[in-house]
Amino acid sequence: MATAAFGHEREHYLNKEYGIRSWLLTTDHKRIALLYLVSITFFFFIGGFLALLIRLELLTPAGDLVQADTYNKLFTMHGQIMVFFFLIPSIPAVLGNFLVPLMIGAKDLAFPRINLLSWYLYILGGILMLHVLLTGGVDTGWTFYTPFSTAFSNTKVIEAGVAIFINGFSSILTGLNFVVTIHRMRAPGMTFSRLPLFIWAHYATSIIQLLGTPVLAITLLLVVFERAFNLGIFDPNRGGDPLLFQHLFWFYSHPAVYIMILPAMAVESEVVACFARKRIFGYNFVAMSSIAIAVFGFLVWAHHMFVAGISLYSALIFSILSYLVAVPSAIKVFNWTATMYKGSVSFTTPMLYAFGFIGLFTMGGLTGLFLAALGLDVHVTDTYFVIAHFHYIMVGGAVMGYLGGLHFWWPKISGRMYPEAWGRLAALLVFIGFNLTFFPQFILGYLGMPRRYWQYPPEFQVLNVLSTAGSTILAVGYLLPMVYFLWSMRYGKIADANPWGAAGLEWMTSSPPPTFNFDETPEVTWEAYNYEHIPAAAEVPVER
């Protein structure tokens, strides 16, 4: 910890109390954010390790590194851990938790104890998931499709379902906390139209968490009931309907993609504004597009089911709705780009991640147009095309956003600067490694390689080798920040309150902030992103 370097250091949230109790029983949103940071990083590296094993198995066409059953468990648990224990909590539970009260000028979230409870629920679900991983695993695919999951799989489906069920409540409570906090705890003068776009996007995210996650919880419970008590809900042999499961599952799991990507867009808006030193172009449109994505996101779930056996006419409806949800995403990309026009752009690490985000998210979004096109989806669905597409969104988009945000607010969180040169190198490695890993998979998918294949025909090998090679570069790119962030906590340059010269209330309090965030409650008399009144900072390099 960045503490006790000087004899009479200013008191802040990190050095106010010491000892394990002061962390495990804390109700400080900033400390809970750090608890989440440590836990999700742990799960990220487990999920990443499983992914590396998958890529190593796919280096050769034959199934030769692990057994078929093991491979099936690898991709299942990679998906479940990455989606439920890393991506969904990533930005909201870490950066959101830390920043939502700071950005609106509040002392804490509305329900600090519920905030701590949500972390404990996450940990409880996480321990159960680890137990599943270590005692045999689960092999249903992260999607739990019935009747395979309820009547055929011989693995720990019930335990995994319960783990995700419990973890879901952590997500619901975080969403609830944010909604109430944003409505009730804003500082005087902080009207909705003055909110940073980070808050708007987190508000939209929270709505999805609140309304969507209970449906997943019910669905998983029904899977558990069918499997444990022989209730006939999804299994046709017991009078159930397997497509009902898919409808219920995707009713949550499509909006869940927006739980991952909206917060990344939230980070994007803050970073681009700061390093272009400009108010975001079209603030109202960017804010409203977040809400539009949340609303339309609930109406497109069956686009995962175009070949599943739904009627032709419902497929038409879900296809056209999927195109509608693409419009607000496009609006955001155009506005971020336009923000740089006549700006004052600097190429810091967070900005490099922001550039990477725009590029990868754009490619992910464009390939989404392929998948929403009914006649084309028939060919590419359930192939590596889909794998590539959603990794561009969820890794290229959400993880780039998360890493960019972590760099941007690291001085605020830790009170230290990370090493800028290493940061830029890592950002570059992530971008190159990511594209090398996932771009070949678009080609593989159009060639027809199905997803979840342990062995594959030899003509697909070269592209798979490229992909595996890329994944090793990506792994280095992800390990580097872990190392230099830890290093910087002790050796990094001390950060002042506003090292980037950024707008936003969080930069008006000291780094790291005091326990109750502000020495006195700020009164807001200005619009968001008032960069014309904020002096540029010495930290940010000036180009010649």
Binding site: N72, D139, G141, Y145, F148, F152, S153, P236, N237, P242, L243, A276, R279, F281, G282, F285, V307, A308, I310, S311, L312, A315, L316, I320, L324, V327, A330, I331, T337, A338, Y341, K342, G343, S344, V345, F347, F355, I358, G359, T362, L366, T367, F370, A372, A373, L374, G375, D377, V378, T381, D382, L447, G448, P450, Y453, E459, Q461, E532, V542, E543
Partner: protein, 331 residues
């Protein structure tokens, strides 16, 4: 093309061309859009990079620009939607008179039954230049019938039929994949589609050890199970007369009407009381668990054959039974 680095899948059906056309259009569009955005980003970032003595110019935004860059993408999206829908509509609508092949999927095997009586496992022989409709069901979990060279895919579900059709255009051997994860040997549930020139196909058909057509097998089962005692071909039976039934509208006891398609016939055999035909009593025993999926397919083929005027002797139903309806899977 390079053997170990193919960049384009084989194109061997009428559908493949229309899917590829849409794909090429989308690739071109994506290239254009991403290059445009990347170029703008590079120009803005370099042209307006941070320099001493130059401040950013604050610009609020522009409603006209926002509306423009919402409306133009929306128009393009709707165009793609319409194109995709047209291709999909064609993919999902089997032409009349297609040759019907029955598929039973199970962990981890494809079982195929031809109308002529041939049975195959993990290998499907079809002729060039003929419409072929697959009528598919699963014995256990969900599978998916996928032939990349035809650009077609359809999930295969337990407890009901889904269909898919294609019109092969080029002879050759193509991959058949299971595309819906189905357990341990999912990646081993593969096979091949052998597309033959018509003459070769006829030779293949006559070379097999088929013991009678699928419909005549169905007729045998129909007699063995005693169906024939109630479902008589006159009006005196205790069950409905099945002659000419298939593909027709049926009036039910509760006032609804249904089309007598494969799913209806299946349900009426396995769980007869689900839909009672108007004027009949619910006296038929349940056959759930007593007939296999393959026998069900034979029974359905037999009932379809009853739509034909008896060709020659009544005991040998005609071999080809044109489908009478543009069928699509129900919700």
């Amino acid at each position: 093309m390079f053997d170990n680095l193919p960049l384009w899948p084989a194109r061997a059906s009428t559908t493949a061309g229309s899917v590829d056309a849409l794909y090429i259009f989308l690739v071109a569009l994506s290239l254009f859009v991403s290059v445009a955005i990347f170029t703008m980003i590079c120009i803005f970032a370099l042209r307006y990079r941070r320099r001493k003595g130059r401040e950013a110019e604050q610009i609020e935004g522009s409603t006209i620009l926002e509306l423009t860059w919402s409306a133009i993408p929306l128009a393009i999206f709707l165009f793609i939607f319409a194109w995709g829908a047209v291709v999909y509509f064609k993919e999902r609508t089997p032409p009349r008179g297609a040759t019907q092949i029955y598929v039973v999927a199970k962990q981890w095997m494809w079982k195929l039954q031809h109308e002529e009586g041939q049975r195959e496992i993990n290998e499907l022989h079809v002729p060039v230049g003929r419409d072929v409709e697959m009528i598919m069901t699963s014995q256990d979990v969900i599978h998916s019938f996928y032939v990349p060279a035809f650009r077609i895919k359809q999930d295969v579900l337990p407890g009901r039929y889904t269909t898919l059709w294609f019109h092969a255009t080029r002879s050759g051997t193509y991959h058949l994949f299971c595309a819906e994860y189905c357990g341990t040997q999912h990646s081993g549930m593969i096979g091949q589609v052998v597309v033959l020139e018509p003459a070769q196909y006829e030779a293949w058909l006559s070379g097999g050890l088929a013991s009678g057509s699928l419909a005549s097998n169905g007729q045998n089962i129909f007699q063995q199970l005693g169906c024939v005692t109630c479902h008589r071909s006159d009006t005196q039976g205790r069950g409905p007369n099945l002659v000419g039934l298939f593909g027709k509208r049926v009036q039910l006891e509760d006032g609804r009407t249904v089309i007598a398609d494969e799913n209806y016939v299946r349900e009426s055999i396995l769980n007869p009381s689900a839909k009672i035909v108007s004027g009949f009593k619910p006296i038929m025993p349940v056959f759930q668990g007593l007939v296999s999926e393959e026998q069900l397919n034979a029974l359905i083929a037999y009932i379809k054959s009853l739509n034909q005027p008896p060709a020659g002797a009544a005991a040998t139903p005609s071999l080809v039974s044109p489908s009478t309806k543009p069928q699509e899977p129900k919700e």
